[in-house]
Symmetry: C2
Subunit: 246 residues, 2 copies
């Protein structure tokens, strides 16, 4: 068996908590990590507040292989993620030489002032490594097991694409979805029994409500193809038996 | 000044963390709470795991006026929210008499077996009060300052509608959005100065990336209309000055 690799995510930003911006990054990260066999174990959405960011990052990095953050690395006063991550690691935060050079060159080429605000984007905790930003140059960074990325979805996704190949990945969690025309209340008992006898799988059951009718999506997950197949067979037989009766 | 009312949210479900289901409830709760003057301070997404749910709920209920949970109150073996909330409060969990009666009657009317699985939906922590479910009968519940609701968005929204009028609400945080054609790097410095001199407001700046161009949405929030107006004026004058120069 391969090692189990776990991850947590910290979404940073008042605008998500106020509802003004609807997060699109949680679902994307979840999909990407699942695809490469990393278990996303927890997500926290926190405000632009240093204490809240430090608490979340330190709590989560201690118990996960990786922590991914989004948001708060732009040039304005409310972008405090670099300082907060430095505080979480107890290291100084300042201009990172290569990031400063990249940004200076980028703006000079375009005849745009390299303002104090823009210089903020070169700030990183001491010892951080760059995460490339192919869209708007200002890099994200990683320190320890924490990956700090932009909140704008297009930039977050591009940064994540460059991070993923460098990660340790686990045995991929494979899954199969079985639609059940019967509602959860009917299948719940026997499905629980199947879970009990198929310990190498995780069986989830998701009620769907559409056009005034309930149906259920049963999802079986496992790191073993054989275990998945066996549980799938058990679920299908259970559904067949119940459908004959109902 | 009115009291500041704060809230946290716990989204419960493996299916959100795997990416299979994309959460739609965070944004809706954020919008609803902002509308009635309650500050959503933190959101956590946790798996169907009792220890994780207990830790999140107990951590958050101690420091917020309200905690709202979604997910895990259906009839199947992976629906463990009622037991987890009971464990968080240190009280027993069992069939709640009125919920049991409602469900029994509901299923009897429809000639549907009141199975062991369906009976699970009548389980609540001792001392819990119902949250009505106008869509599929099985109630949510509240205990202490924690409101436990369904994960299916249509049912969550209906339950929340019945909860909101019973909540203490704070002075509404009013906001104004000012679109800036100038990117964050240009406005960042002066905007930080405006934040410093307008302490009764929270000024956020959100980079927007569309069709290869950056622009910025500046959002000013305050509980005071007067403070909001003054900060808005300062931002507009700042933009005017910068636009003349650029």
């Amino acid at each position: 068996m391969s090692e189990i690799i776990t991850a947590a995510m910290v979404v940073i930003g008042d605008e998500i908590l106020s509802g003004r911006t609807k997060d699109k990054n949680i679902g994307h990260l979840a999909d990407m990590l699942t695809a490469v066999g990393i278990d996303l174990r927890e997500v926290r959405v926190v405000p632009d507040d240093q204490e809240a960011i430090v608490e979340a990052v330190n709590g989560l990095r201690a118990r996960n292989t990786y922590v991914f953050t989004t948001g708060g690395i732009g040039p304005t006063h409310d972008d405090i993620t670099a300082d907060a991550i430095a505080a979480a690691f107890g290291v100084p935060c300042g201009y990172e030489r290569e990031a400063y050079r990249l940004l200076e060159e980028h703006f000079a080429k375009r005849g745009i002032e390299f303002s104090e605000a823009r210089k903020r984007m070169a700030r990183m905790p001491e010892g951080a490594a760059h995460i490339a930003n192919p869209i708007s140059v200002a890099p994200g960074f990683s320190i320890g097991n924490v990956y700090v990325m932009a909140g704008v979805p297009a930039i977050f996704q591009a940064m994540l694409d460059s991070v993923i190949p460098s990660l340790k990945t686990g045995a991929k969690l494979i899954s199969v979805a079985i639609p059940s025309p019967l509602p959860e209340g009917t299948i719940g008992g026997p499905l629980g029994d199947i879970q009990t006898t198929h310990g190498e799988t995780i069986i989830g059951s998701y009620p769907k409500y559409e056009d005034g009718r309930f149906w259920t999506e049963i999802v079986i997950r496992s790191r073993s193809e054989e275990a998945l197949r066996a549980a799938k067979k058990a679920v299908e037989e259970m559904l067949e038996t119940l459908l004959k009766r109902n």
